[in-house]
């Protein structure tokens, strides 16, 4: 055809037509519909992909959706690490194997150029791909796009088809979108795993701490806790539905007065408190502020440290030290008094011998009084010496009644001075037991002092303390019991659970330390025994030291 005919054909021929908006619109509309369906697939994919999916799972999900909009017989993900490519995942899973990517391989080219491409391949281009004969193959057309992590190429996504020329250049942008979406999903999943691992570590660390820890927001809501409350507190904790700390810990319906949270809020610094629970547990509370990004207080971490045992031991230590000091002093004094006392008694005895017959009966009686009182003083001194040697005497076979007598002889005067009558009921058939005598004396002394104090303020006509020793069988065991009963004020029921806790005292500051009973219980327990309390307010109390007979 010569030029002239060609021109004529174009000028008048049937092939040239008026371009039509409708046709173009339809074309665009089809394009839009196609894009729309692709967007829908991208959207659905991003919705379907869970954070805890593996790369393989993510690829599988994409593979099921993709054929709706793009020919896809194979989907592969190639990663690059230190310049080495590897087929990280593919769908179908066992479609092929690639051990080595040659220089001409599409993936390598795409990763190098950071730009996607369409590849129509002959068999010679795919010699490096080892097909699983079970799958249809070989692949003829590939759309390969780079996968980015920010600007860095981390791999390539391969969408492939068994049919020739399956992909157009327009498809590439969709595949790139898909790759971007998958990159994000994969990075998110990876990030999520890291975060959840870190979270788990922190939670385990948090739970591993045996002391109770709470995280409380500034509105007193408990955000987190490690479930380590002592049993009697956790009962209350679990019972309360409210999330407020004052409800869960203190059974209150409003914040506690002088809540440390206020101090933390004010100062922005940690605050320390000591708190004794209803159950008698002594807790050290540390309130640590937690700040948000704006440097405002957002929460408070509270750590409870149970210091009951520690405090008791400290108290015991202090008490022992005191007792040791007193004992040492008493021993010194007693020792000093012992010699003059011996001289006084000896001299008085000599004088009695020098008064023969019935002469000066009055003088002899006076001398015998001196001798008796002297002997009594010596006994007291002896008791003091014994008492002061308590540390040196671990346990030995003792007669409990004798110990009682010793204490009474030492303390009776002191107590009688308060117009209190002491009535002993000592079981004469009591067997001997292995015990630390001075410690037992200490317990009894403590019981007696407490009984005296319980009688002190009541305007009672008769103030009586009964000291009883007896044998008791209980729980198929035989116990030796030493009881001190008073008819004093008794103990209020709500105070009863706390009386053994260190530093609990109902007495005025000058009188008691709140350590006596705590130390006494310690002594009882170290002998394998215990202390029982029986008290009726207004009628009096009975404190009984129970020591096992078989033991020791």
């Amino acid at each position: 055809m010569n030029d002239r005919e060609k021109l004529l054909e174009q000028l008048t021929g049937v092939d040239s037509s008026k371009l039509n908006y409708y046709v173009e619109l339809k074309k665009r509309n089809q394009e839009v519909l196609k894009q729309n369906s692709r967007l829908q697939i991208l959207h659905q994919l991003s919705r379907d992909i869970n954070l805890d999916m593996s790369v393989g799972d993510i690829l599988e999900r994409a593979f099921t959706k993709l054929p709706q909009t793009l020919p896809c017989d194979f989907l592969g993900l190639v990663t690059v690490k230190d310049g080495v490519l590897s087929l990280k995942a593919s769908m179908p899973r066992n479609f092929c194997k690639i051990d080595d990517f040659p220089a001409h391989s599409p993936s390598l080219k795409v990763i190098r150029d950071k730009r996607g491409g369409i590849f129509n391949l002959g068999p010679e281009d795919l010699l490096h791909v080892r097909h699983n004969p079970g799958n249809p193959g070989p692949l003829r057309a590939l759309a390969v796009v780079p996968m980015f992590k920010r600007d860095e190429v981390i791999g390539a996504l391969i969408v492939a088809s068994l049919s020739d020329g399956a992909y157009l250049r327009e498809d590439l942008s969709f595949v790139q979108h898909l790759a971007d979406q998958l990159s994000i999903s994969i990075l998110n999943a990876r990030l999520y795993k890291e975060v959840s691992r870190a979270k788990k570590e922190w939670e385990e660390t948090f739970k591993a701490v045996t002391d109770p820890i709470f995280l409380i927001d500034t509105d007193y809501n408990v955000l987190l806790h490690n479930d380590r409350l002592p049993p009697e507190m956790s009962a209350q904790w679990n019972k309360v539905l409210s999330s407020k700390c004052f409800a869960k810990l203190h059974d209150r319906d409003r914040p506690c007065t002088s809540c440390p949270l206020e101090d933390v809020r004010r100062s922005g610094k940690p605050v320390y408190r000591r708190w004794q629970t209803e159950g008698g547990i002594l807790l050290d509370l540390s309130y640590y502020p937690v700040f948000n990004e704006e440097k405002q207080l957002s929460a408070v971490t509270i750590i409870f440290k149970d210091v009951t045992e520690k405090t008791k031991m400290e108290a015991q230590l202090v008490h022992s030290a005191k007792l040791a000091a007193i004992g040492e002093m008493a021993a010194g004094v007693a020792h000093e008094l012992n010699s003059p006392m011996t001289v006084i008694i000896g001299t008085a005895q000599m004088l009695v011998r020098d008064f023969p017959g019935e002469v000066d009966r009055d003088k002899i009686e006076a001398l015998e009084d001196i001798i008796n009182c002297g002997l009594r003083c010596k006994r007291i001194i002896q008791n003091l010496l014994t008492f002061s040697r308590q540390d040196e005497l671990p346990t030995s076979e003792i007669d409990l009644n004798e110990e009682v007598e010793r204490v009474l002889s030492l303390i009776r005067y002191q107590i009688n001075r308060s117009q209190v009558e002491i009535i002993p009921h000592l079981d004469p058939d009591l067997p001997k037991i292995n015990a630390n005598g001075p410690q037992i004396q200490q317990v009894l002394t403590n019981f007696l002092v407490n009984a005296r104090d319980a009688l002190d303020d009541g305007g009672r006509p008769e103030k009586i303390i009964q000291v009883t020793t007896a044998l008791r069988r209980r729980d198929k065991k035989t116990w030796i019991v030493l009881s001190v009963r008073d008819n004093g004020t008794g103990i209020a029921p709500e105070a009863l659970p706390k009386i053994f806790t260190p530093f609990f005292t109902s007495k005025e500051a000058t009188k008691g330390t709140g350590l006596g009973l705590s130390v006494s219980l310690g002594i009882a327990e170290s002998h394998g025994g215990t202390i029982e309390v029986d008290s009726i307010p207004g009628e009096g109390s009975t404190f009984s030291l129970l020591l096992p007979l078989e033991q020791l």
Binding site: R4, L7, Q10, L11, T12, S16, K18, L19, N20, E24
Partner: protein, 382 residues
């Protein structure tokens, strides 16, 4: 060629059909109309009328009229800039060949981008054009139905022919009333242009029976009405017939294309900025002489359409009558001038001839023309 194609716009014809302009634009989906016209048409009041009907149809309008006879490329550029900035979505041209061709060129650049030179030639347009409604105010150009737009390249000083089916307007509204306001010279020039369209498309290599009907009808109407229309501008019968003649000539040449006359006049118009009809008048008889031997039967038909008595004459003798009839008509309407009289200087003939060989219209000329042939015709037409 066994298969032929005939393309025209939707055509609304008749006195008062200008009133359809608003509805027509609306039908094409317009919401804001870019109205292209020129000062002459505005002064005649037709633009105001068109705007009235457009606004009545609820359309917003923007008017562009900064253009001259033989529209220039920079005028199109300015119009395109204005069109794109205006937010218009359809074009309406009210006027002669210039506003129509400018409207087409604006439509082309607005949707296809680039410059007009990129589309010079045949079938270079790749995107559809916005909807166009053309209301001709002259009876001649035929641009309201044609696949041509002719714009002057002011750098190369020639008329670019841009040819594409996409340039065929969507609706042509031919209202003969609009013809009354043009002066006699313009009526004569445009009428002669239409005659040239009729004759060239009738003898064109691409003529088909469908184009022939329109070409012959146009020649017949022009031969009987042009003198009256030039003599009495208010003769509505003559005006209506001339409008129809221009329309049918347009349909004919749009589908059968033209010939050497137009290929040559395009060059002359680009250089001396004369009315296209006048240059046609100078060249047409000489091209007819040049072509005569190739298709004497057709030229005899033309003579018949002129009402010449050719009975008893053989084809060749009858054919020569057509040239005489054309010359007579040209003389009667006062366009008997040589190119020299119109202002063309001889030294330009080689250049014009070279450019003529590149013009698409030469393709369909019944007789192949060499450079020397064209030079010779130019000289004869001086």
């Amino acid at each position: 060629m066994n298969i032929s194609k005939f393309v025209t716009p939707e055509i609304i014809f008749g006195c008062g059909s200008l009133s359809q302009v608003g509805e027509s634009a609306l039908r094409l989906g317009a919401s804001k109309v870019f109205l292209v016209s020129d000062a002459g048409v505005i002064n005649a009041g037709w633009v105001d009328k068109a705007l009235f009907y457009l606004k009545e149809a609820g359309l917003a309008c923007e008017t562009f009229s900064a253009l001259t006879t033989n529209p220039k490329d920079f005028e199109v550029d300015e119009g395109t800039r204005r069109y794109l900035a205006s937010g218009c979505d359809a074009l309406v041209a009210v006027g002669g060949g210039s506003p129509t061709d400018v409207a087409k060129a604006i439509a082309l650049l607005a949707t296809n981008g680039g410059t007009l030179r990129d589309y010079e030639g045949i079938n270079k347009i790749v995107h559809p054009l916005p909807p166009m409604v053309i209301v001709p105010s002259t009876a001649g150009a035929g641009s309201e139905v044609s696949q041509f737009t002719i714009v002057v390249d002011t750098v190369r000083k020639l008329k670019m022919s841009i040819i594409s089916k996409s340039l065929i307007p969507d609706i042509a509204i031919v209202d003969p009333e609009l013809l009354q306001t043009k002066d006699s010279l313009l009526a004569a020039a445009t009428g002669l242009d239409a005659l040239t369209h009729g004759i060239e498309s009738y003898v064109s290599l691409a003529a088909t029976p469908l184009t022939d009907i329109h070409a012959l009808k146009a020649i017949e109407l022009i031969s009987r009405n042009l003198r009256r229309a030039v003599a009495d501008r208010q003769d509505m019968e003559a005006n209506t017939n001339m409008a129809m003649a221009s329309l049918t000539a347009g349909m004919a040449f749009s589908n059968a294309i033209l010939g050497a006359t137009h290929a040559m006049t395009h060059q002359v118009d680009g250089l001396i900025d004369q009315h296209h009809g006048e240059t046609n008048a100078s060249i047409l008889p000489h091209v007819m002489e040049f072509n005569l031997d190739t298709s004497p039967g057709r030229f005899r038909e033309i003579a018949l359409a002129f009402g010449e008595d050719v009975s008893g004459l053989d084809a060749a003798a009858g054919a020569t009558r057509s040239i005489a009839a054309v010359r007579r008509l040209i003389r009667d309407i006062g366009l008997e001038k040589g190119l020299g009289q119109l202002g063309l200087q001889k030294e330009f003939i080689p250049l014009l001839s070279r450019n003529t060989l590149k013009d698409a219209c030469l393709v369909t000329n019944p007789r192949s023309a060499t450079y020397e042939d064209i030079v010779a015709i130019f000289h004869r037409a001086m």
